[in-house]
């Protein structure tokens, strides 16, 4: 029986939020085509994790358990997923448009000889059984509809933070099916030598609910700490970003750059501090639900896109915002 499969992504013994988002989306798709909803996970020592997905909507959980899957490698994961997909023949295969999903799915799709719609912001099932996807292109300056129309499975990666997680049914159990791969460590041509932790423990920009971003107006690297303080005041789910101008001036690392040659983000709130708003930057953050602009220059293009703007010196405004947010939070 064909199925709707989602790749369950986990890290350090916990599922990532995208896993629940994909299962919630999967339930919606299932209500239209009636196919079973299956989760797929790979790892080492993951039986306990595999048992947790029933309440979130999985009818079946396939898990590939082996030491070789302890750390993610596109080579080993492609092999394991492709073999399982070939034997079970699902009609849909979904993953998050995360660092892992974006690295892995292109190769799986090529091996399976099927199509992949990358980094989608909308996925729906048409009457013909084909997924109607919408994916931003030109860093979000354009939206493109796309379908995988003649091959199976239809593969899609979904951008995080778009699907509301549906209520959990704790009485629901999934059938859990364990597989062992026919794969040996010594057959692999890649090896993870080391994971280098980032400077801060902040979540990734693409998953953040609130982003406090700094531009050329930050003037120097050390000044980013006032943005960190504001982000901390908001609490969990917050990250600090930067414009290309700030990155190119050496004020911030590239991995937090927002825009066409950086990350395309989709937070609930985007606070742009000292960012004038180039077309490349605006493309990267235009889908933010609310945009706040703080800039000395009242003519800065960012004000044309912002829901709320304050014309003023960010070094004066940001610490005051931090104080006000803290005050409000302490009041509860």
């Amino acid at each position: 029986m064909p199925g709707i499969w989602i790749l369950a992504e986990h890290k350090e013994g916990k599922f990532k939020k995208i896993t629940y988002e994909l299962l919630s989306l999967g339930k919606k798709l299932k209500s239209k085509n009636g196919e079973e909803l299956c989760a797929l996970l790979l790892g080492s020592g993951i039986e306990n994790l595999a048992n947790q997905l029933g309440p979130y909507g999985a009818d079946k959980v396939y898990y590939l358990e082996d030491e070789v899957y302890k750390s993610y490698l596109n080579e080993s994961y492609t092999q394991g997923i492709s073999e399982l997909v070939k034997s079970q023949d699902p009609s849909i295969l979904l993953a998050g448009a995360t660092a892992l999903g974006k690295d892995l799915f292109p190769r799986v799709a090529t091996r399976l000889g099927t199509g992949l719609a990358m980094d989608c912001v909308s996925i729906d099932l048409g009457d013909n059984g084909l997924l109607k996807t919408v994916r931003p292109i030109y860093a979000g300056k354009v939206l493109m509809e796309a379908t995988v129309h003649q091959t199976k499975p239809q593969m899609v990666t979904l951008r995080p933070n778009l699907v509301e997680i549906s209520p959990v049914d704790s009485s629901k159990k999934a059938e859990v099916i364990k597989s062992k791969p026919d794969l040996k460590r010594e057959d692999l041509r890649t090896m993870l030598k080391e994971i280098l932790k980032g400077e801060s423990k902040k979540i990734d920009l693409t998953e953040a609910k609130i982003i406090v971003s700094g531009g050329r107006g930050m003037k120097e690297k050390d000044n980013f700490k006032i943005l960190e303080e504001l982000a901390d005041a908001f609490g969990e789910g917050t990250a600090v970003g930067a414009s290309r101008a700030a990155v190119d001036s050496g004020y911030a690392p590239h991995d937090i750059q927002v825009g066409q040659t950086g990350k395309v983000v989709n937070p609930t709130l985007y606070i742009a501090c000292g960012i004038s708003g180039s077309i490349q930057h605006l493309a990267g953050m235009a889908t933010s639900k609310y945009i706040v602009a703080i800039n000395k220059d009242p003519e800065a293009p960012i004000f044309q896109k912002a829901d709320y703007g304050i014309v003023g010196d960010l070094f004066q405004v940001v610490p005051l915002l931090t104080r006000e947010v803290k005050k409000l939070k302490s009041e509860g």
Binding site: G115, D119, V142, L196
Partner: protein, 264 residues
Amino acid sequence: MNIAVCIKQVPDTETKIVLNPDSTDIVTEGIKLVMNPYDEYAVEEALKIKEKYGGKVTILCLGPEKSIEAIRTALAMGADDAVLLNDPAFEGGDSFTTALVLSKALSQIEYDIILTGKQAVDLDCSQVYAGLAEFLNLPYVSVVVGLELFPDQKKALAKRETEGGEKELIEVSLPAVFACQKDLNTPRYASLPGIMKAKKKEIKKLGLAEFCLNLEHVGAKGSKLKKGKYSLPPQRKAGIKIEGEIPEAAAKLVKLLREEAKII
């Protein structure tokens, strides 16, 4: 070390996009086209490897005739050879067909490593490098921000960006495909002599006839992903500028974020 670099010509990132009348593509007339910014890091890395270990840098590009401009830029930076993969049959292809055709062309040249950008900034698919690796049965590392080679041992150590500022060090046997990310290096500008030399260089052209492929494999027919309509995202309108002295404005903004946006 022989290095193959796959590049693409794309609209400049400053381009203001206009859709064609039937919303199936963007209007390309009159817009500035450049080498995909991520491919510049791939070209620069290739040149650095050549400077260190010797060898040859070959540029491959699938695209319309006009893509020759992007190829000339790479040659002017210092690449040795170039191949343009151009055929009406290739038009309307997706990442799958692009990777397929590029892999056929790569099978005809000698390489120790293949470099590409981590994505093209037009269609943002970030899939071609993986497709190449799959068709050529090679390993790959994506989002590469550091690359160290050990030619004697036929291996490389690549640093790749993952999430939240985290990076992975991956050891990989050569030949392999590396998809380059900003931060890997600083691309050089083409020198004037480089530009003059690049103008005279012959660019090899290959079409469908040179590969063991037929019309069904390539272009729109071979594509696995069918493109539908394009649309422009809804334009955001300017909201309110909060007036008043800064402390009052800050307090008012936080109040709005709580009451209107319900964020805090």
